[in-house]
Symmetry: C2
Subunit: 214 residues, 2 copies
DNA sequence: AATTATGGATAGTGGCACTCTCTACTATTG
DNA sequence: CAATAGTAGAGAGTGCCACTATCCATAATT
C-alpha cells in the first residue's frame, strides 16, 4: 500500500506519518523507485501503536520511539523486557535532591523492603515516587502514611493480575507489546477509574442526596 | 516579606513567580508603594501548591489556576467541590468519536451501572476512559475485560480509603485542598507504585533468578 | 551617594509536535 | 498521450507553552 492508504487506515495525516518516519517511530517503506515506497501491515500496526502511546499515553515522541524499538527488536530476553520498557516509558526528569528529597527516597526504599519487593536500584519509578512524596511532605501532607500503605497494597494486587495476564501470552514479542501498551495506557485507565470511583464514593459517604439531576 | 524571600523560601525563581502572578496562579502582593508589595504566608502556601501541581502533577498552568481558584474560593459546598476539582484537573481533550469510540463509551456506562456507581454524566473521566478503551480496542487488546474489572475493583477500594481520609478533615477549605492535592499527586504516586510492584511480581513469577546485581 | 532590589510590562527563548513547501519524480485518468 | 494527481524526502516554518530576559522608574540598603 502507499502512504495515502496508510494514512486512511490509521487516521494519521500524511505529514505526521512522514514526521514519525523521520523520527524513527515507524520504519521506512520498502523502496520501489526514487519516489515510491510500499508499506505493509506492520507499518499499520506500528503506526497505530505509536499514535496510541503519544496521544492517549501522553508520551514524548522520543520515549515512544524507544518503546517501539524495544517491542520490535530481536534478541531481548523475557528477564529484562519489563525493566527496559519501564525505562523507556518513564520520561526523564531532573529535580533537586535536598534533604527532604533524601528522606522521601529513604522512605521509598523502606517501603520496598518492607513489602519484600525485589526492585532494581535503577528503576526510574523510585525517583518519580520520591519526587511525589517529597512534594507531599513539603506541602505538609504528613498524614499520608496509611494512604500510602493502601496504595502499595493496591499496586501489588494490580501488578499481580497484570503480570499473570501478560505472561499468559505465548511469544516474547507479544509479551513485550502487551507490556508497553498496558504500562502506557494503564495509567490513564486507572486514573479515570479512580476519579469515577471517587465521585461515586463521595456521593455515598458525604452527600447521598447530591444531585440526581446534572 | 518581599519577592526575594518568597523565592528563597519556595525555591521558585523570581521571574517565574512574576509569571505565575500574571497568570493568576498566585495573587498579587499587598501594595505598599509604586514598586513595592508585601507577601505573606498565604503566598508561600499558594506558590508551593502551584509548583506541586505543575511540576509533579504535570498540570498545564491554566488547569492549575482553576484548581487553585477552586481551593481559595469561598462559597463552595462540599457537595460539588470534588466534581469541580475533577473538572479543573482534567485537561481538555478533543478526539474524534467514531463507532469504536461509541462502543467504548457504552462500555464505560455499562461498567458504571454494573458497579452501582453514581457518577454525573458530565464527569470528564468518562471521556478519558472511553478514549483509552477505544484505543485498546483498536489495537486489538480485546482480552482486557477481566483486567478492567480488576482495575475497577481496585479503584473502588482506593476511592473508599481516600474519601474517608479526606472527609476526616475539619473545614471545607482543608478538604478542598486535600482533594486537589491528592487527585493531582495521587496519579504519579499510584503509577510509580504500580511500576515498582510490576517489577517485583515479574521477578517472583517469571524470573526469580533475574539479577541480584544491577 | 552608590549599589542593589522591586513591581510591572513587554519582548524573547527553547522545546516540542507537528505542518508546509519544494523538487524531482511516478502513477493514474480521460 | 497529455494532463492531473500522488509520492518520497528534506528543510523550513508554525503554534503553543512555560518560562526567562530586559527595561524602566522607583525604593531600600549599605
Amino acid at each position: 500500500m502507499r502512504i495515502a492508504e496508510l494514512s486512511r487506515r490509521t487516521g494519521v495525516p500524511i505529514p505526521t506519518i512522514k514526521y514519525y518516519m523521520r523520527e524513527g517511530l515507524v520504519p521506512q517503506g520498502e523502496r520501489t523507485g526514487p519516489n515510491q515506497a510500499r508499506y505493509g501491515e506492520e507499518h499499520v500496526r506500528r503506526l497505530r501503536l505509536a499514535r496510541a502511546l503519544v496521544e492517549v499515553g501522553g508520551l514524548p515522541v522520543a520515549s515512544a520511539r524507544e518503546a517501539l524499538a524495544l517491542i520490535f527488536s530481536s534478541g531481548i530476553s523475557e528477564f529484562d523486557v519489563l525493566g527496559k520498557a519501564q525505562y523507556a516509558l518513564t520520561p526523564p526528569r531532573e529535580r533537586a535532591e535536598d534533604d527532604v528529597w533524601d528522606e522521601a527516597a529513604a522512605q521509598v526504599d523502606e517501603l520496598i523492603a518492607r513489602r519484600g519487593w525485589q526492585v532494581k536500584p535503577g528503576n526510574p519509578a523510585r525517583r518519580t515516587l520520591a519526587d511525589a512524596l517529597a512534594t507531599l511532605r513539603r506541602l505538609g501532607e504528613d498524614d499520608y502514611l496509611d494512604l500510602l500503605e493502601t496504595y502499595a497494597e493496591t499496586a501489588e494486587h494490580l501488578a499481580d493480575t497484570e503480570v499473570r495476564a501478560i505472561s499468559r501470552r505465548g511469544d516474547l514479542h507479544a509479551m513485550a507489546e502487551a507490556i508497553v501498551i498496558w504500562t502506557a495506557l494503564g495509567d490513564p485507565v486507572i486514573a479515570s477509574l479512580r476519579r469515577l470511583a471517587q465521585e461515586a464514593q463521595a456521593a455515598r459517604l458525604i452527600g447521598g442526596t447530591t444531585e440526581e439531576t446534572a
